[in-house]
Structure formats: C-alpha cells, structure tokens
C-alpha cells in the first residue's frame, strides 16, 4: 500500500544515488526494487521538517483559534503514533497498549498538576511526571513480558488486556473518596479542571500558553521527536532495534541482549506516549477512562498502519488521513468513526495481498526508508579506507567493470581473495582486526537424550585451532544434535563442553557468542530485509561496540566475500550461495575464536562449493573451525581431520583417505551394521 510520502521519498533517493545505474545486463525490476537506495537522507529530512514546521506554524497563526485547537489534538496524536512507530516499527514489538500508557500519562499529569500547580505556578513539571509515569509503567510491564520470553503475539494480547483492566479500574473510581491529594479521579465521570500548560520564568509570573502557542509547542515537539527518531535510526541503538525486529534469533546468536534491548525500546516508547498523554490532559483539561478502552487502542494501530509502520513521517500521514476522515464523517466520537475504523482494519488486512506485515516488509525492502537502514549504506565504499592499503583495490563502485547481476560470479575481488594466490595477503589483513589464533573447543563425555531417545551417547572430541575439523555421519547419527549442543541451542544430559578450558556447558547461544563462538546455522539465518553491509555491520558491532571500527571491518569483509557489487541489495534478493557466504562472513565479523558451520555448502553449486572451501581454509588460519557436512566431495577437498558419528556415538576418526578405504565406514553409510550385512546393530536407537 503506497502512501504519498513513500513515493516521493523513493523518487528523491533514487535520483540522488551515486552511480547506481542500470548497468547490469538482465537486471529486472526486481533487482531495482530490492535495492535499498543510498540517499542524502539526512539532508532531505531536515529540509522536509523545516518546511513542514514552518508551514504549520504559519498556518497556526493564520487560522482561527478554534482550528488551531483542533489541530493541536492531531499534533498530540502524532506524538502518540510516533511512540508506536518506535516500539512496533523499529523493534517489532506488537504493543496494543500505547493508548493505555497515554492515558496513564494523562492522568499522571492531571493528578500532579492539580496538586502542585497552585504552589509552583507551573505545570511543566507535571509534563515530566507524565513522561516518567509512562516510562515506569512500560518498564514494569515490559520486564515481565520480555524477560518471560513472551512471543510477540502474546505481547499483543497482554498489552491489550492490561489496557482493558486499567480501564475497568479507573472506570470504577467515581465518587469523591477516590482522590490523590487534591485530584479527584472521578471514575467514569472523568477528571476535570486539569490545568493548562503554564510556565514561569525565574522571578516572573505564571504564564499560561495560549491556544496558538500550545499548538506551536505540540507541533514543535512532534517534529523534534520525529527527527530524533530518524536520527536514532541511524545510530547503533536504532539499528540494533531493527535487527531484533528482523531476526531475533540471529541477533541473539550475534551476542546482542535482545530482551534488554526490547525493554529499553518499550520503556522509551512509554515515555513518549506518557508525554503525549500529558499534553492531551492539558489540551482538553479533562481525562476520562475511555482513553483506556478498545477503540483508542485500535486507533493508534490504525494510524501507524495507514501511514506505514516503519515510517516516521508516516505517523503524520496516518493521523491526518484517519482523523481527517473521521472528523469529516461526523466527529471522532461519532458512530460512523467506529465503523470506519473497524472496516479499515478488516479492509487493510484482507485487501493487502500477502497480509499487512509482509507487505509492509516488502515496502521496507523496496528501499522506502533509507534512513532506517543506516548510514552505513551510504558510507565509505568498500576499500577506500586508507588505513588498509592491502585490501584488494575495489575503488568507487562505478569504476568497476560491469558484471553479471547478483549471481554466482561476483566481481574481481572475489577472485583475489577466494581464489588462489591471494592467500597470505588477505589472511594478514584479517589479522588487523583479530589477533587470537583460535581457541580449543572440547567436548567431554557429552550425552543428550530427548525423552526416550538417545541422540548423543558419551561423545568426547577436541577441535584444535589452526585447522578445520569435519563432522560427518549417516542420517540419524546425531550430527545436528551435536551441533545444537556446541552452539548452546540444546542443553546436555551429561558431560561438559570446554572453551579454552572454561566450562561453557550451561551457557546459552547468546552468551557463547559473547565468549567468541561464531555460528552459521544450517538454514541461513540472516537479516533478509537489510543490506548485506548492514548485516555485517551488526555482526561486527556486536563484538566491538565501536560503530566506526565495525563499519570498516564490515566493509573489508564485504570486499573479501566478493559482495561489494551487491552491498546495498536486500540480502533476501541474493543468490543462495551468496547468502551462505554472507552468513559465514557474519560469523567471521564477530571476531570469533571458534566458528561453527552447519552444512555450509547446502544448496550450493559446484562452483560456489569450491569457493566456500577456500573461504573456510582461510578462516581456519584465525579461528577454530568446525564443519558439519554431508557433501563428500567438499569434505574431501577440505582435507581436514574428520570425525564420523554413528547412532549418537563417535564411530571413528581419520583423514578422508583413511576413511574412504575403511569398510566399516562404508557399511554404516549403507545402513548396515559396522560389520557388514549380517552384523547386528545395537538396540533400537529410536
């Protein structure tokens, strides 16, 4: 669903993109659409905001005071919508409770202002209280939800349920007994006579804002907040939030503390919604429990949906469109508004092909929101970093000879690094970012049982640095379980796992990642909607915590993987082989001491498999590499020590030549017992 803002911005950014032209033979519109455009996003933001702000202020002064009064509400609603854009759009938290936090902020303002305004002569402090109340409420709720690992859908239900319960509570506080200080809560009658925004300069008199001034303030805050969110989107905080939204598992595997991040974002969203609530209370001078009910909760979601979930400017669009329509149809409390809102929801959900969320995701991938994808895309082209002269010369992009589109034949640099002859040079450059030669990973007597099934039986293995190690075995041998145990995905029933002598048996994947385990899963788990460069940056940043160093490191790896050409394409558009390499690159970017690869060549062509083999050989110089594989040709070429698993136990070890001559190994691959067709295998393993 296209919104006006979306179309304009994309046009602007495509026009502004340097040298990104259509030089690729056969590149369909799909490629173009999938590209996340670089743009002068920062500048255009400022320009748009300044113009919009100017216009609104001008208009505010020109129109009748009553109109300004109406428009103020819209500005306040934009602020509320922005809180949901932050929480849902940026971080993927499906919160139906923003309106409830808004209400809490409003009541907090009311209570505080009613008690304090007369004494201090100002109510700005009440605004602060409103924001803080919103933040505290969100933090408390968020703690239980996120640290309880509630899935997104449950988060939605719980936030909605909370809103309804708050509604019931506040609704019942009618009667003069329910008061906090001088503030009577009023129950379903509402809290009345809430003071307007009043400030007082030191030594001066309390001054109440006029309606026009109030309009200017609210609009100003909305614009400032929009810009701040945009800016946050470019900073690590925002980029990590996006990563959490796009692929929580992968973010955790990179070492990010996903729960903490969600809590932070949710709390910030609560502060913003609370602030909006404070403004709202001051606007209408009245707070009623209906703010906690279903309809306002739905409205916030609708504004954001209509405007585009990921879009900061969409918050403006959504509010204006929906509220404008409602008011034209007979006022926000009118009958028809409810029907409109309900019909809009159903219509959007059923009408959008593929559903609301994927469609919005598609909009995201089509490069509508460059700012949220990070400035890295617009940043230094790979290789122009003067501090690493040994990086293969790639130059600014438009100097490179045209090559076939994002396919299995990346441009020149790939040959340099993934091919023969570049070995030492590229290898040394990796060391720029990493000094550790790899760690010793050991597995001692590890067993794993799932219910009655013994998947791993007393396995003891050691993976030494400076060379890759392979794990193979027939179907059902326990390879995947072993991998799961090494990554921390599965706990062990018995035995220990040591990393350089340290016991990591009880640690989950997120903690192991922090200790230096780089993981590549069997099914590629990358950020499909983000650019390749952003994927690598996220991995590098997780390990280093330094935005610029991570940027350089990511660019270097990008060059080495031969993915410069497709650096700003959404990863979901890349060929399967490239996505696999990218994931290996991400494992590398975290500066790991151990890299675990589960079937890295799955789905690859012969050509891609060869390149992967070289890549892994390079990796092994700097980290302990453990590869679980099926592809025997690949295993042969890798020329690494091999451990063969069979029915959950370690069957034998050796080089490829030794094992291929071993009759017993052949037998187990044929499903026979180790001793041939008549050999009885052990008791039922199933």
């Amino acid at each position: 669903m296209r919104t006006p803002a979306a179309g304009t911005e994309r046009a602007a950014s495509v026009a502004g993109a340097p040298g990104q032209g259509d030089r690729r033979p056969g590149s369909g519109s799909a490629r173009l659409r999938a590209r996340i455009s670089t743009s002068r996003a920062g500048l255009s933001d400022l320009v748009v905001a300044a113009i919009a702000g100017g216009l609104l202020l001008l208009a505010g002064n020109l129109v009748a005071e009553f109109t300004a009064f109406e428009w103020t509400l819209w500005a306040i609603e934009v602020i509320l919508a922005l809180s949901l854009v932050l929480v849902w759009g940026y971080c993927g938290i499906f919160s139906f409770g923003q309106a409830a936090v808004y209400g809490i902020g409003g009541y907090a303002y009311g209570v505080f202002a009613l008690n304090v305004a007369e004494r201090t002569g100002e109510t700005l402090s009440a605004l602060v209280v409103a924001a803080v109340a919103g933040a505290v409420f969100a933090a408390a709720l968020g703690y239980f939800m996120f640290y309880g690992n509630l899935s997104n859908i449950y988060v939605a239900i719980v936030t909605l349920a909370t809103a309804l319960v708050v509604f019931a509570i506040v609704n019942s506080t009618a009667g003069s007994a329910y008061r906090i200080g001088d503030a009577v809560l009023g129950g379903y009658n509402g809290m009345t006579r809430i003071p307007r925004i009043t400030y007082r300069l030191p030594g001066g008199d309390p001054t109440t804002l006029t309606r026009v001034q109030f309009f200017a303030v609210c609009t100003g805050v909305a614009l400032a907040l929009a810009l701040a969110l945009r800016s946050a989107g470019r900073r690590p905080f925002g980029r990590i939030a996006v990563a959490v939204r796009e692929n929580e598992t992968r973010s955790s595997l990179l070492g990010y503390d996903v729960r903490r991040h969600k809590l932070l974002v949710f709390t910030l969203g609560g502060a913003i919604a609370g602030l909006a609530g404070g403004f709202y209370a001051a606007w209408g001078r009245f707070m009623s429990p209906t703010v906690f009910s279903l309809k306002p909760a739905a409205l916030v979601v609708i504004w954001v949906l209509v405007g585009g979930r990921f879009s900061v400017s969409g918050a403006f669009v959504g509010v204006l469109v929906v509220e404008g329509l409602s008011s034209w149809l007979g006022g926000p409390s009118g009958d028809r508004a409810s029907l409109l809102v309900g019909a809009l929801l159903i219509g959007i959900v059923l009408g959008l092909r593929g559903g609301v969320v994927p469609t919005l995701g598609r909009l995201w991938r089509e490069g509508v929101r460059p700012s949220l994808a990070g400035a890295a895309i617009r940043g230094d082209p790979a290789g122009s970093d003067p501090s690493s002269p040994r990086v293969p010369e790639s130059g600014p992009r438009h100097d490179r000879p045209p090559s076939t589109p994002a396919s299995t034949h990346p441009g020149g640099e790939a040959e340099v690094w993934l091919g023969a002859g570049a070995g030492d040079e590229a290898g040394k450059t990796i060391e720029d970012g990493d000094g550790a030669p790899g760690a010793l990973l050991e597995v001692h007597g590890v067993s794993k049982r799932f219910g009655g099934v013994t998947a791993l039986d007393d396995v003891t293995l050691a993976f030494v640095p400076r060379q890759p190690s392979c794990i193979i075995g027939p179907n059902g041998a326990g390879k995947s379980t072993l991998f799961g145990v090494l990554t921390g995905y599965h706990g062990v029933t018995a035995g220990t796992i040591l990393l350089n002598g340290e016991d990591i048996t009880r640690l989950g994947p997120h903690r192991r990642a922090r200790l230096g385990l780089g993981i590549k899963m069997q099914v590629p788990s990358v950020y499909d909607a983000l650019a390749a460069q952003e994927n690598l940056w996220l991995a590098a940043y997780a390990a280093s915590g330094d935005r610029d160093a991570a940027q350089r490191w990511a660019a270097r790896i990008l060059a080495r993987l031969g993915l410069c050409e497709v650096a700003d394409l959404a990863v979901g558009a890349l060929a399967h082989g490239q996505r696999q390499w990218l994931e290996i690159g991400m494992a590398l970017a975290t500066n790991p001491s151990v890299i675990l690869l589960d079937e890295p060549t799955a789905g690859m062509t012969r050509d891609e498999t060869e390149r992967t083999e070289r890549l892994i050989a390079q990796l092994a110089r700097h980290a302990t590499v453990v590869v679980v594989e099926h592809d025997m040709e690949f295993v042969r070429r890798l020329d690494a020590p091999i451990s063969v698993l069979h029915m959950g136990g370690l069957f034998t070890q050796g080089t490829f030549e030794e094992l291929s001559r071993d009759e017993r190994v052949l037998n187990i691959y044929l499903g026979r017992g180790a001793d041939g067709p008549t050999g009885r295998t052990d008791a039922d393993a199933g």
Binding site: V453, P474, E599, S660, L666, L670, P677, R680
Partner: protein
Amino acid sequence: MLTLAEVRAGYGSTRVLHAVTLEVTAGECTAVLGRNGVGKSTLLRCIAGLVPLNSGRITLDGRDVSSLPAFRRARLGVSHVPQGRGIFAGLTVQENLRVGPAAQRPAAAAATAERLLEEFPTLGAMANSKGGSLSGGQQQLLALARALATQPRLLLLDEPSEGIQPSILDEIAAVLARIRAERHIALVLVEQNLDFAARLAERAHVMVKGELVATVDTAELAADRDQQRHYMAI
C-alpha cells in the same frame, strides 16, 4: 499408475528437484536411493501434495493431480509415511488408526481399526497407549498400519528403516511384501539402508542433487562394492 514428468520443485527460492521423470506401476516396488540431502524426501512430499510443483506434471492412473491438495490425493489412494512418522502423539494407537478411515470411509472406521490391530499384534497390545509414548520402532509400525487403514493404492515410505531394530524391521518387511502381493499396491520406497531396500524392491533409482541419474538392479547394487561406493558413500 503413477507418473512424474519433468517435475521441478523446491522451497521458496531453493530449487530441490530438477526435471524428475519417473514411472511406477501397480504392484511394483520402486526404491529411490541416494545420500542425504539430495531431495529424496522432497520427491515423496511432492507426490503426496505437500510441496507444490514449479513445473512438470504428476498423474495418477492417467489423471493429472499436479494441483490437487494433499487431502484429495489421499482420498484418491495416495498414502504417505514421512520421515519422523507423523504420529499423532496425543491420540491413542487406536485413534491414530481410525483417523484415516474416519475421514474417508466413516462407516467402517472402527472395524478397520480393529482389524489392523489384529494384523499387527505389537500394536494390538498397546491399543490404548498414547502415540507419543511408543518407541521409534513401534511408531513406525503404527505409521505403516495407519497408512494401510485407508486402503491405499500408492504407498510412499520415507526411510522406514531409520533407527529401527532388526526384529521390527523384519516384521515391517514381511508386512510390506504381503500387502504388495495381496493388494497390488504400488510402493515407492526412499531409503538409505541398501539391504532393506533390496529385500523389497527389484529396481532402484539413484538420486544425486535433485536428479535421478541412474536406474539399477537392487540385487546387483547390494552385491557390488564399487557401485555402492560410487553412489552412496564417502
């Protein structure tokens, strides 16, 4: 009775099957052999209707079923026993057996289940146990019995021998041989266990990276070490 013509299929953007052409006649047992990850399971799932085709055709007794949903193919006589067996863990053995007939021939459902429990004494002893509490071998028997409950004409078995102890394996092989003879069912058997496959199928197709590259005589293959090495192993 079953033909596949130039079938291509996969998951999302990953192409798994490349131009697979295959024919199976009634009463015949065909094995599909190959290493892990080549696409054998996907082939069966495609025939069963669980994976859509990118191109190509599947016909059953001359009727084009390429776009029929899975449950309609089941009602036409296709029965699929997946890897992992797909037992309804929360239902008892008896209930597991009744699901198919209850959906297709409701009147005789209970009687069919009873009869199968007699035919498979191992299951009969556990008629009221929950599916999830059975061992792997017992689950395999149950899956097989369940597949037979709907009087199928085409039976698709995905690695039935995996993780099964030899005694139960014998029982399974015996049952399959018997029903093949009695009911003229066509069997397509995906296996890594060469000897088990050789017991049941005369002919085997070898699959490598999504394509059928050769058709061999299973008895020959079982005896020839070099061929085995070439197709199957390390």
